[in-house]
Point group: C2
Chain length 608, copies 2
């Protein structure tokens, strides 16, 4: 029997023929430009079997292709076998991206405009324009295009909504946030702000849900004007009965938030009562094409003004109360990780091996014991030996590798808590390590320490500090292919902007209150992978004649194993940092640890 | 009697009244966007008495203002006293720049379009547009506007032209450079390239002159097409007699370079033989407004295409032969500086004091003894104690401070040689130093060493390395307000692009063959100033699994005084670098030094 994906693509081609489409472009995101889409929007996977986190598909009458980057080349080749889908490599020299590839190959291109950004579709449109009349070369926007074939497609998720108790768990009341946004609108002379990305909406309304795995979000749109706040969301998020009996619904209503149906956003945007040239500000980098197109075609009185959403920066700068809770949350999270590391060491001593999967499950079970735990913040990476060298390793449930008492084990994980989101990577020597493992381990650690110790003038952007995390590696001609740091939400997404620490020029300065990861690494295919990741808070460090200074406070509280450290490779400062860090971990965690683990941690945190 | 500058401004106002101009803008550069203009174009100085290197003047009927940055605030206030000219600060928060300042204050603005870039004038134009007819608000372009008042204004300089002997002194034959540019034109589908900046022309034609102090340039324009190379230059550069008898003239003619009069560029650009829509590529960031305006108004068949000149990058990447000569040139230059430092130490021991000016003159006299010396590459900065804290200190001929046998003396200088351009700063402890002087000295040195030791993957830009030179200072909350590194020409300008090493985002990667300065510093007003400057060559450092690696080779060859180094503040690596550097300086220089200086240098270069 023919490959299921080849059959699906064949069915799509039938649809294309009937409709006169030359090509269909299927994107990997959802209507809200989410990093991880809910199962309903895993359209690339349904069509091709490819499960990587980044990938777009083009099907023409005689070609089917998947565009993805080097993280997924090997995985794509395996998963696409027998589907007839060919791999197109992105982020390689001379890569031909989808819009350029379509030039001359298609005149009528169908897209699911819900799952493509305005920017992407405009780029395709520009590339297929053939100089003839508009009718000949055009984009056809077909919302939920694949649903005609994907008969058992999951519905839009609508998990229960929780409202945040900011007094108990940090943050700013939603009414204050709405007032702030309205002031911003006045200054910018906007009549409304439309938010379409889910973490921005969750932040502004102080609501959380479970619509997306690992991300406590609610599928919705939000429209704020001076007169009203309308939240467009599946009503079932408030339960099956009368929503007025639900606390979160009543609380939102009391704060002036009107609850409208998810699809009512289309009507709201053509609100004629607003009068001519109603100006709505929206972030065009994440707005979906379908909604943008709807406004342009059907709402003559509505003018969309494109720019960066002001919510992104406001959300990234944590408040004093959030920072207070974060400090404790990272201590609690550290206790879970220490208990796990102790358990793992004991198990290896007793049994001689533990599977990566079992270890991962056990780590999660320790996190579950923390009050306020609401799930993991991403899929645990539990990777031993050569598995850790795969940049996006996914630990298989069945047949995962056995961790043994030698070499390096890498565990990258994080929790979602009422009081914050955590993310930590520890690379742990499980016993004897090779000289190369120790050298790599120490060089990566030097990078993490250098960035931890950084002091910098206000105005400095992450890309201006990134080299500090790489310099020790670079000097020995080693490097890692990912960014050094990403922003982290507060019981929100584990990846958030606008700041980051990487080579790419991002002019956003690091500001006091921003929480960012510090995670250099090193990966040797077939041998080992190393990453040391702490989460750091940017904070003020005083002013003097030379400037206004900022520094990092490390939030992550979990010891760094020194058994693989080549002490001679550390400078006096680096040694002092490492010893002080481990000592502080011991002091903060030991009072809450069982006696045997505290004793074990005391030994692990002795100075080098 | 009234201040001479006030008189000149009054005369300018009379001219403005007669002509109906509301404002006159006088810029600080020449028709070729030169960093340092020849005396003829020191119009700001003639009009206001201000001698700083960066400054623009606006005169309206009731106001006269000088716009300059913080380097010159104190100097400007002193020099403008009695002139009636007010200081407008630039590069400060909320600075109002000239175009914005003119908004609403002037409707008819006169400029000397020769000395203003197209970009600047367009910006002024945009700001004075009042929505009425074009006639009401307009730019009036008056070439040599001030000449009507400045009756003894110097002529356009026309010093003798020298052609380079590339076989003897490095570089590429001009015919090869012209072929390269013509290939570039073919690829870019351009009919011609117009070069207006003087170092680009000097580089392409392998010619040098002395039209601008410290810069071996010839005032000229260059137009290259597939059919001809026309050099627009004062014929007197070839001497008063028949140019055909002059070697350089004959050599250029033999290579197909046609010599035209400087002003003939205007006729050439309206060359009707080229046919309609003749496309000429020109760098709009340096093209003067007058020439651009001439083409737009009077050359209907000529289309100027604006972009970055390809010559800039090609010139910055030195050839193997140039690099070979540079290494020797920096050794020769180092000998001159070592002889000077020895002399200074001896003089202080004998006399107890030496004036900054005498020291500066003596340094120049040592350089003059080097074969191939063609002048200094900029005005020596010879600054003792607090004088060194002034970022743009100019050593006065009369009454300069006395250098005494204690504290720090900073000397920043460079030479122009047939075989390259040098630039070096040494900060020298003249005797006892305070603990703060030593600490600052060591921290700045740590920065210079960190950048010297950098290894980085191909594609890295200077702004991604800059923090290495600052990190040691930043960690103690100290900083310097200038860039860390600038490109350097080959017997050309001491400042050249496109690469640099500074905080500003400049995406130009550092490429093998580029020569850049490495000069962190620290300045404490009223106390001391420190700068350590070596010149580094970017070179290949091998490829491996992790990338294609580059590193720096230090060209500068002159010892770094270790008597002010706090050895405990240096890491093992830093100490090793410093000792190896000084040892290498001794080994390279001592064979060419008199015995007494070699003995002295041996002592100076002993390991810390």
């Amino acid at each position: 029997m023919e490959n299921i994906y080849a059959q699906r693509i064949a069915a799509l081609r039938q649809m294309m023929l009937r409709n006169g489409w030359d090509a269909v472009v299927v994107g990997g995101s959802d209507p809200h430009a989410s990093e991880y889409p809910a199962p309903r929007w895993k359209q690339v996977e349904w069509l091709t079997g490819f499960t990587g986190e980044a990938g777009d598909v083009v099907v023409t009458r005689d070609h089917a292709g998947l565009w993805t980057d080097s993280r997924y080349f090997i995985q794509a080749l395996t998963q696409l076998e027998g589907t007839g889908v060919e791999l197109h490599k992105t982020r390689v020299p001379d890569a031909v991206m989808i819009p350029e590839w379509l030039t001359g190959r298609a005149r009528v291109v169908a897209v699911d405009g819900l799952c493509q950004s305005l920017v992407t579709v405009r780029n395709i449109q520009k590339n297929i324009e053939c100089g003839d009349s508009d009718d000949e070369c055009r984009i056809v926007d077909v919302p939920d295009l694949l649903e005609r074939l994907w008969t058992d497609r999951p519905a839009i998720p609508s998990t229960p909504v929780t409202t945040l108790d900011v007094e108990c768990f940090g943050g700013i009341p939603r009414t204050d946030k709405i007032s702030w946004l309205r002031k911003w609108m006045m200054l910018e002379e906007m009549d409304g702000v439309l938010l379409t990305t889910l973490d921005e909406i969750a932040w502004l309304l102080n609501v959380r849900g479970n619509d997306i795995e690992y991300n406590p979000l609610v599928i919705s749109y939000l429209l704020v004007t001076q007169d009203y706040v309308k939240w467009f969301v599946k009503k079932s998020v408030f339960g099956a009965t009368d929503p007025d009996t639900i606390d979160s619904y009543s609380e939102l209503k009391a704060d002036g938030v009107e609850i409208e149906d998810y699809d009512a956003i289309y009507f709201a945007l053509s609100d004629v009562e607003q009068g001519a040239s109603w100006k709505i500000y929206v972030d065009h980098t994440t707005l979906n094409y379908h909604l943008a197109h709807h406004v342009m075609e059907s709402c003559p009185d509505t003018r969309l003004i494109y720019g960066t959403s002001p919510v992104i920066l406001e959300k990234a700068v944590k408040t004093e109360s959030e920072i207070g809770f974060l400090r404790q949350t990272y201590i609690d999270d550290g206790i879970a990780v220490e208990r796990f590391l102790y358990w793992l060491e004991q198990q290896l001593a007793e049994r001689g091996e533990v599977s990566e999967w079992e270890a991962s499950e056990r780590l999660t079970s320790f996190r579950k014991e923390i009050p306020g735990y609401r799930g993991n913040s991403f899929e645990n990476i539990s990777a031993y030996g050569p598995d850790a060298a795969l940049p996006h390793y996914s630990t298989p449930r069945e047949g995962s590798a056995m961790i043994r008492p030698q070499g390096l084990y890498l565990v990258d994980s994080g929790g979602q808590y009422l009081t914050g989101t955590t993310d930590i990577t520890r690379t742990v020597p499980m016993g004897e390590c090779t000289p190369l493992e120790k050298e790599d381990y120490t060089l990566v650690l030097k990078g993490m320490i250098a960035l931890s110790m950084a002091v910098f003038p206000r105005g400095t952007a992450g890309c201006q500090l990134d080299v500090l995390a790489r310099n020790a590696l670079w000097r020995t001609k080693r490097n890692f292919g990912h960014g050094t740091g990403h922003g982290i939400g507060y019981w929100l997404c584990v990846h958030e902007g606008p700041q980051d620490i990487r080579q790419n020029f991002n002019s956003q300065p690091l500001l006091p209150g921003m929480v960012t990861s510090n995670e250099p690494g090193l990966y040797r295919e077939g041998r080992h992978g190393i990453r040391h990741e702490n989460i750091v808070l940017c904070r003020e460090a005083g002013k003097n004649d030379f400037g206004d200074w900022l520094e990092f406070e490390t939030l992550t509280c979990c010891h760094i194993d020194t058994s693989a450290v080549v002490a001679d490779m550390l400078s006096t400062d680096e040694k002092a940092w490492l010893n002080a860090y481990n000592e502080q971990v011991y002091r903060k965690l030991s009072p809450s640890l069982p006696a045997d683990i505290a004793v074990w941690l005391r030994a692990k945190t002795m100075p080098v």
